[in-house]
Each structure stands twice: as C-alpha cells, then as structure tokens.
C-alpha cells in the first residue's frame, strides 16, 4: 500500500515528458533479457523435460534456432551453451528458450562437426534447478534450403482449409505456394519436384478447377490426367531426374472408419496401376509390367540416373475383405529415358512374402546408394498404421534394416532426401498419435540413422496449439519461385490440356 502511494505521489509530481521517459525506460527494461542472480543451485540429476525433445539429436549447420520450452513451469531459465570453441550463458523470462537467429547462426557456424551442450537451469523462487545437459551434434553437411509441405487438419473426409507452403529451413520464414485463401474449395496435394530442383514442380488440384498443374522452368500448364483408358486421375507422382517424365500411380482410394481405438481410419487402395507421363508430349505411357490386372502397382520412384523405376506391388485383392492380407513388395524395372519405355523384367528387392510385411513410398538417395522405405503390417498407405517404420535398403550391398534411432512407436510415413543424401525429412505422428509433424534426421556415410528432431518453430509452444498436420514433406534446393496467384490463374482461367494415353505390349 505504501509502495503504491509512493508511486502515485511520484507520478503526480512528474511532468508529461517524464511520463514518456518512464514509459520508454519501462519498455527498454522489458525488452532486455531477464538476468537473475539465484542464491542456490540444486542439481536435478536428470534430463530437463522439454518440448520439443532435442537430446542427442544430430542437426544440420544451417538449421533455424532450435527453440524449446520447459514443460515444468518456472520463473525464468538460464542456459549454458558450450562447444569446444564457445561458452556462453543466456537467460530467458518464463519457461521458453528462444535464441536470436543471428546468435544461433554464429554458434552453428563455429560448431560444425562439434557437439553442442546446453545445460538448462530452471529458476523457481530464487533457486536454480540444474538439469543434465542436452547434447546436440552439429553435422558438417547442410540440409537443403527449403522444405515444401502441405498443411491440413487431420480430418476424415471433408476439409475447408489447406495449403502448400515452403519453409526456409535456416529461418522461420514460411510462404504459401498455394492455399485455400487463394483457391477456396479446391483440394491441393501431391506436390512433387524433379531432382530437388524447384524449377520443375507439379501438384494436383481436385474439386473446384481440378487438374494437374505442371511447372517447367517459367512455364505453367494445367493437364487433365483422367483418360478414357484409366479408371481415375493420376495420383502419387515421381519426377524423372531429367524433368521430362513423371511416373504416376493411379489409385482408387477409399477410407474406412474404425468404431473403436486410437486408429480411427484406414485408407484402402481398392485398385492401382501406374503410368509414365511425358511432360513435353502430354502423353501417358504404360505397360503390363507397371499396370496389370493381376496386381496393384503404386508409389513409383526413379533412380537418380533415371534408368531404373522402383515401385511397390501386391497381388490384386478384394477390399476391404483382404485388407490385412494386402502386403506390397518392393520391385524395380529398367527405364529407358530416351524412349520413355520400361523394361520387361521386374526384379524384386524386398519380397512381402518373405518379410510378411508391406512396404511403401520408396525413395532413392540422390547419390543412388540407399533406398528409404516405410514398412508396416499391411496395405500401402502407412499414415494410419502405428507400426509403420522407416527402413533403409542398401542398393550396393542389398542390406536392409530398420532405422531404429529414427523410428518411434507411432507412424513414420512420408519421407524425402536432402540433395547431399545426408538428411531425411519424414512425417511422424509420434507426438500425440494424430498430428503429423515434420522430423529431420541425419543419415551418416554408413547409412546409419541418427536421433531426429522436429522442424523448429519460432515459438516452441506453437505446435501444441496448431491444428494442422505437416503433410508430404519435400526438400528442395532453392526457393519455389511461384506466386499463388499464377497457379490460381492457370487453374481458373485455362481449360487445361487433355493428356493422351498409349499402352505397349
């Protein structure tokens, strides 16, 4: 009461200018980072309970600040950040640690190939609670500059808001490539790039102004991929590294919804074939090797030299009756980039009959040595299979193993390689079983996966409130120079070219 009376007295005696001075002073003080001189230090002898988890993660030297928060409440946090070259102490008000981008960049520049230790002190009532240090390993190899993903609510059948965004990985900058604001009522999905280059891009639009938008250099065109010979529009794509072809699977997808349990739905591929689209000639080509009535073929992927086409296949079945019996094998067929034709012999790399498991989403590392897949109990859409894990197939040695350090008890699904073959970004539901997050993991020269970390956010609490999933992460080397209005204009104002179709026997 006495203090309050004193403040009022001082304020009454102050002139207008003094008020302004006081205000500026208060603002300046509040802008300063909080410094706290604690009296006592108590060792907790355990790791801090932080979000997102970071301990022992391997991180790229060009990643945005790995801000984090203590899940326990505290007045402030003090951290000691240490490498072989650096030692610095920083304080933060509240329970969040937010590094300045400039400072973080300097730290990483000096820590390449080094271990970064962060010791956290939670300050509660003038007592410092010291936790065991968090260790981060800064790999020397950078990750590609941009990550492209779709943000969508993890719904069931309907949607009202979604968007394809690109995020600069060294900062928190996110830009829309296309979203529901610009194209309301249009579903957008399956963004894909040729050889990690943002110059060649495609994405599908469904519902309003539907079609497939293809960007080659500065040119944009809209294509209708449903032909008289195919039972649906083109689905999951993979660009040929030359940018001349796109391999597609054509799927008839149906969802089923569970009455009980945490796995609320499954997507069933009722039927699937594959076809290769010639971008210049606007023509599909297929052959019985990749499009057969006796089997389902899906999720194509070209090798980096463009001479092999990988995909997954399973004998045709009746769904949903045979749902749990549908197990896909990983196979390969040769591809001639000059003629755009596939070979006639199919090699089986991973046989579902032998493993008793199903594989999906094959992706070859840009150096052509490793093939990353998702393996799970059945089907070819792993998004709702909690047992789905990432596996590596060594194309040189034919070794095949799970990425134990990368995997979790929940879904690991879609994935993408960095152009230097050292980083992967994958989607995972491990945080809560529902929301897909983008996770980043290091793959060393021996093909070993290291502890991953989540796509960093400016506000570490952001994902706790964010109602969208990170869908189909795709790494690209440079920014996608595409204005959302340009895509919308092509989609809205052009009729779209009808693709042709031919079959070889």
């Amino acid at each position: 009461m006495l203090i309050l009376t004193g403040i009022i007295y001082i304020l009454n005696r102050m002139k207008k200018q003094s008020y302004i001075f006081l205000l500026v002073l208060l603002l300046a003080l509040s802008a300063c980072k909080y410094r706290h001189n604690a009296f006592e230090v108590i060792g907790k002898n355990r790791m801090p309970d932080i979000f997102p988890v970071l301990h022992q993660a391997t991180i790229p030297p060009n990643i945005a600040p790995l801000n984090f928060m203590l899940n326990d409440s505290c007045n402030s946090i003090e951290i000691e950040l240490q490498t072989s070259e650096i030692f610095l102490v920083e304080s933060f008000i509240g329970n969040k640690v937010k590094f300045s981008q400039k400072q973080w960049r300097e730290i990483l520049n000096q820590s390449s190939g080094d271990t970064l230790s962060i010791t956290v002190y939670a300050i509660i009532d003038e007592v410092k609670h010291k936790y065991d240090p968090i260790h981060l390993y800064v790999a020397p190899e950078p990750i590609d500059d941009f990550l492209v993903y779709r943000l969508i609510m993890p719904g069931f059948q309907t949607w009202n808001e979604m968007g394809i965004y690109q995020r600069k990985l060294s900062t928190f900058d996110e830009k829309p490539i296309l979203n529901s604001k610009v194209m309301p009522g249009t579903c957008m999905n399956c963004h894909s790039f040729a050889g990690k280059e943002s110059e060649h891009m495609m994405l599908h639009l469904r519902e309003n102004f539907g079609g497939t938008v293809i960007k080659t250099g500065d040119a944009l065109k809209k294509v209708h991929t449903k032909t008289e010979q195919t039972f649906a529009s083109a689905g999951f794509p993979y660009w040929h590294p030359s940018g001349k072809y796109i391999a597609f699977s054509i799927n008839s997808v149906r969802q089923i919804f569970h009455a009980k349990g945490h796995v609320r739905a499954h997507a069933l591929d009722m039927k699937s074939d594959m076809a290769i689209y010639n971008v210049e000639e606007n023509d599909f080509f297929t052959s019985p090797v990749i499009s057969s009535d006796e089997s389902f073929e899906a999720f194509p992927c070209f090798s980096p030299d463009g001479e092999t086409l990988y995909f997954v296949t399973a004998p045709a079945g009746e769904l949903p009756r045979d749902q749990t019996e549908m197990k896909y094998s990983l196979v390969a067929v040769s591809f001639d980039p000059h003629t755009g034709r596939t070979g006639s012999r199919v090699d089986t790399l991973i046989s579902a009959r032998e493993t008793g498991q199903s594989v999906s989403i094959p992706r070859v590392s840009p150096n052509g040595k490793l093939l990353l897949i998702t393996q799970f109990d059945y089907g070819n859409f792993p998004a709702y299979n909690p047992e789905a894990d990432l596996y590596l197939y060594n194309l040189e040695t034919d070794d095949y193993y799970a990425l134990d350090k990368v995997n979790s008890n929940d879904v690991e699904s879609y994935h993408t390689w960095s152009s230097n073959s050292r980083w992967i970004v994958f989607s995972s539901r491990r945080r809560d079983g529902l929301y897909m997050d983008a996770w980043i993991a290091y793959i060393d020269e021996h093909g070993k996966g290291h502890t991953p970390f989540m796509l960093p956010q400016k506000d570490p609490e952001f994902l706790k409130h964010f109602m969208f999933s990170y869908n189909i992460p795709e790494l690209v080397k440079s920014e996608v120079n595409l204005n959302p209005y340009d895509i919308a204009a092509v989609a809205r104002k052009t009729e779209g070219e009808q693709a042709g179709y031919s079959i070889s026997h």
Binding site: P184, A259, H262, Y435
Partner: protein
C-alpha cells in the same frame, strides 16, 4: 396539436425507443435460436494472440468485435438485446452522419433504411454480425472526415481513414470513400469543385489500388475477398446482390437526403410525421409478416439437444414440427435418452425414424450430427462427425460445440494430449473456461481420477469393446455391438428395438428381448406390449414364452378390438380404427 408538436420535437428518441422495442420483439420472436446458434459456430478466445491474429488480416478487427459479442449469444436473450442494440447504433451512426452532410427531416427515415436491410440480412446465418460493426465504424469515420474544416487536413485524414478502415473493416472502405466524395461534392462551394474532383478521383483510384497492393505484399487472397474481406458474407467466392444493395444504400441515402432537401416540397412536420409512421409501419410489417422459419425451428431443437433439455424437446414435439431431418433426429434422440422411444414414437405425429444424419459431401456437417453417436457410446463416430463439422465450416472457424465434443471424445479414448489441444482453446473462452480447466486437471491426474466423475464414468462404461467399420446403412448393427459391450446400454437398446419393430423383423426383435431385463424399465414399453400381443396372434404362446415382458390385460383387449375393426370392411370402422389406433404399433404394421 401540442401532442404532434411534442412528437415531432422528440421524434428521434421516440423512434429509437420504439424501433429498439420492435427489433427486440422481431429477434426474440422469430430468430432468437438462430442468434444463439451463431455462438456455437465460433470459439472466441480471450487472449492477446487471438486478438493479434485478427489484426493480421483485412476486416479482422470487426470480425473480432463481432466474435466478442457473439460469445454472449449463448444466452439467447443477450443475443437478442445485443443484436437489437447494435442495429440501433447503426441507425444513430447513419443519422448522425447524414445530419452533418445535409440536414433534413427525412434523414430519420433514410437512416432506418440500412437498419431494415441489414436486419433482414442477419436473419440469414451466412451474413456476419461483423458487417454492423463495419458500417458503424465507417459512418463514424465519415462523420469525423466531414467535421474537419481545413481541406488539407481533411484530405489527409480521408486517406488515412480509408487505409485504416480497409484494414479494420474490409469492404466498408468502399462505402467510406463514396461517402467522402459525396460529402465533398455536396458541402463544398463552387470554387472548390475542381479541387474536390481531383481529390475524388485520387481517392477512388487509391481505393482501387489499396487492395491490389495489399494482396500482393501483405496477404494472399482472392480478388473479391481482397476488396470485400470475410467480415460480411461467409461464402468467400460470393458477393450477393443483397449485400451489394446494402453497400450502395449508404451513398444512396446521402443523395436522397440531399435531393429531398433541395426540393423543399414538403413541410418539416409532414416529413417528421411521415417518417415516424413509415418506420413504425415497416417494423409492424416485419413483425407481422415474418413467421418461424424451418431453420429457426431446427435451431431451436438443435439448441435443446446442446443443452440436453430432453423433456422439453419431447413436450415441444407433441405440438407439431416441420419435416426436417435435424428435428426428427433431435426428437428421436430425446426419446431414446429418456427411454421413451419404444413407448412414444408413434404418438408423436409425423415423426420419422431419423437416428443419424448421413454424411454429405457438400455443405457443413450439422453440429447435431455427432450427438446421437456420443450418447449411444459410439465415441469414434461421434468424434468423426464433430471433426467433419470443424472441417466443413464455411468461414473456417472452430465451432465451440464441436470443440467440446472433440475434447470429450479424445478424453474418453484416453488420447489426452490431443484433448488438451481443444481444452486449452476452451480454457481461453469466457463460458467454457471452468469446464475446460476442470477437465484439464482431471486428465493431468490420470484416468482413475477421471472415472470418479459420473460424466466420464458413465460414458466410459458404454464404450465399445469390439471394433467394426462405420456403415451408415447398418447403424442397428452398431447398436448390437454396443449391447454386446454393455448389456445395460439403454439408449442402444431403445434404438435397436425400435429399428427392428419398424423393420417388422419379429425374429430379431424376440431375439434381442434377451437384453430386456438389464434395462430395468419401470413400465413395460408400450410398443413391446403391442408387438408381443400382435406376434401372439401369429405364434400363440409367445406372451408366455416372454413372460418377463409384461403384456397388460388392457393391451390384449385393445388388440382384440383393433382386430375386429381391422377385419371389417365398413368405412366407419376404418375411420374408428384410425381415430383410436393411429398411434399404435399395430396401425404402423398395417398401414405404414
């Protein structure tokens, strides 16, 4: 004469008071439930982050203001009061501006035109209350503009106000620009005409360029929305004619006011009195010519389901209702909740057995769609429909009713971290804070603590023990699964048995009567008695075989009389049959 002169003298407060009362009656009588429903379609968070989010898009401030007030619509009387008061504020703002530009006794009448127009628009849920705020702010800005005497300052203020209004209120900046131009042209002397024309051209050019600039550098949106914003109409690809008319109404009344002042054909007293009479006449016509729309009645039933006023639903249904699936669903749900589905279904005229709303690809999934699943114990399907509602809202807002349901289903499923996401949002609201905080505390304490509370324990007990896939055409099978999981699930039993009776599937009906004892009915459900009495006529001995279902002597006598009337070909007896037995299961069996 003195009375008339007094009326003329106090015409404005008199009209405001009377119009306020008329508006109150109009909303209260015909649209109170629809207003209340608006509250369920949003989740207003009292946080700085939520406010900041709204400041980041054009029109966001008025959207924020409308959401703030709409949260009080949870109590329909407050909704009615706020809507009425806001519309009267719109009148005052319009009148005040008109008086500044052109003093005219008819301004009272003209100022009511936007109020009439927007009142009618607001009866449609697609039009936003934010529009009222936008128009009020526009008129205040316009008034501020005309009050500035120095033309340089006025022009500068005009440009600043236009930019501010564009960001705060979206499309209303067009109205402001037009009002500024008109006021300049009307108020200025002849010498300033050239200057004003240049200002007008510059202003109008700026108005065209501002949204183009903003959509290129500040946000991404459609061309239409870049100009209009989401503050007026929920469907982002449309600018309805009615709204265009309202937009044009503001400059139109300025011109009207100016012209009628110039004409000087009518006396001031006549103008005042005729304004009073006309305004009151319009209100009377609005009140007398409006009737309860089907949507309003559906909202009434939907709101009662939301507040779980089951008895009130049943009582209301007995007075008749329109043929609407949401209403049928609400009544069936209320009957099942009260254990009356198998004893009252046929006594409610024209009630259809709508036990769920089938999924529709187009349009918003009704908020009520998840309710029957939730009360039955089909938690995943309830979650699915609540999520579908969230994902199908036209304005991409989070409906609070669905957020609560999603939180409940995730809590029941033990997915606490997902439930927290919704509960943390609800914790920031005014009216759901307490419940959200309590639930957060419970889940933090763990499932054991949660199960100490009836709200959760009862629902947990009814949850499924076996899995199956959703099939909208086989809902009765879901009820069988529910009964296999918990043989005391009264709700599932009621739904299943009525379904079997309606399907005239007596074998299954008799089969599932095995769960009857678990239900502990105080009285035998009437249609069970009637069904058994009827089956007895086909298969003698059934009543004895199912003696645990008591069939009263009166039912036996009734079926005998029914049989007698049914077997005669006499027209009079057929009429008697209908009059006496239209509400029985037997009548349904033979005639429906």
């Amino acid at each position: 004469m003195k009375l008339i002169s007094n009326i003329i003298r106090y015409i404005n407060p008199v009209l405001v008071l009377m119009s306020g009362v008329m508006l109150f009656i109009f909303w209260r009588k015909y649209f109170a439930e629809s207003l209340s429903y608006r509250e369920q379609l949003q989740l207003f968070e009292n946080t700085w982050i939520y406010f900041r989010k709204h400041l980041l898009f054009q029109g966001g401030l008025v959207v924020y203001l409308s959401e703030f007030f709409i949260q009080f619509f949870k109590f329909s009387i407050l909704g009615v009061l706020i809507a009425s008061a806001l519309l009267m504020c719109l009148y005052y703002a319009t009148f005040s501006f008109l008086e500044q530009v052109s003093t005219n006794r008819l301004n009272i009448l003209f100022s009511f035109l936007p109020v009439f127009a927007y009142t009618l628009l607001l009866t449609n849920e697609l039009y936003s209350l934010a529009g009222v705020f936008a128009f009020i702010i526009t008129l205040l800005f316009a008034r501020l503009f005309v009050c500035i005497k120095n033309f340089k300052k006025r022009y500068l203020a005009g440009i600043v106000l236009i930019i501010l209004l564009y960001w705060f209120a979206g499309g209303a900046f067009i109205i402001l620009g037009l009002l500024m131009v008109l006021s300049e042209l009307i108020k200025s002397d002849k010498n300033a005409l050239g200057r004003n024309l240049i200002f007008s051209v510059l202003l109008l050019s700026g108005m065209i360029l501002i949204p183009l600039f903003a959509r290129q550098f500040l946000f991404h949106d459609t061309l239409l929305q870049s100009y209009l914003s989401s503050a007026y109409y929920k469907v982002p690809v449309l600018f309805p004619l009615e709204l265009k008319i309202v937009f044009l109404l503001f400059p139109a009344i300025v011109i009207l006011s100016y012209l009628t002042k110039k004409l000087k054909l009518l006396s001031d007293s006549f103008k005042s009195l005729s304004s009073l009479i006309l305004v009151l006449l319009v209100w009377c016509v609005l009140i007398l010519a409006t009737s309860h729309s089907e949507t309003e009645i559906a909202r009434y039933y939907g709101n009662m389901v939301y507040t779980e006023n089951w008895d009130e639903i049943i009582a209301e249904a007995e007075n008749g209702f329109p043929d609407n699936d949401e209403i049928h669903l609400a009544i069936n749900l209320a009957l099942a909740k009260q254990g009356k589905l198998t004893s009252h279904f046929f006594s409610i005229d024209n009630l259809k057995p709508v036990f769920h709303l089938p999924y529709q690809r187009r349009g918003m999934t009704p908020l009520i769609a998840s309710d029957p699943y939730y009360h039955a114990g089909l938690i995943n399907f309830s979650q699915m429909y609540a999520a579908e509602s969230v994902s199908s809202t036209i304005d991409q807002k989070m409906p609070v009713r669905s957020a609560i349901r999603l939180a409940q289903t995730y809590v029941l499923n033990g997915q606490f971290s997902i439930a927290e996401k919704y509960l943390n949002k609800l914790k920031n609201s005014l009216f759901y804070r307490k419940w959200a905080k309590q639930t957060l505390q419970l889940i933090a304490a763990g499932e054991e603590e949660l199960l100490k509370y009836d709200e959760w324990n009862t629902k947990k007990q009814f949850m499924l023990k076996e899995d199956f896939y959703y099939n909208k055409d086989q809902l009765h099978l879901a009820m069988i699964f529910l009964l296999r999981s918990n043989q005391s699930n009264h709700f599932a039993f009621e739904y299943l048995m009525l379904h079997l009776l309606l399907e005239k599937d007596f074998d299954s009906f008799l089969n599932y009567l095995r769960y009857y004892r678990n239900m502990e009915y105080v009285e035998t459900p009437l249609y069970f008695e009637q069904a058994l009495a009827y089956i007895e006529t086909l298969r003698p001995g059934i009543i004895d075989a199912y003696s645990f279902v008591e069939v009263s002597e009166s039912t036996i006598q009734h079926i005998q009389r029914y049989a007698m009337l049914y077997h005669t070909n006499n027209e009079n007896d057929r009429e008697k049959l209908k009059a006496e037995y239209a509400n029985t299961y037997w009548y349904y069996l033979h005639f429906k």
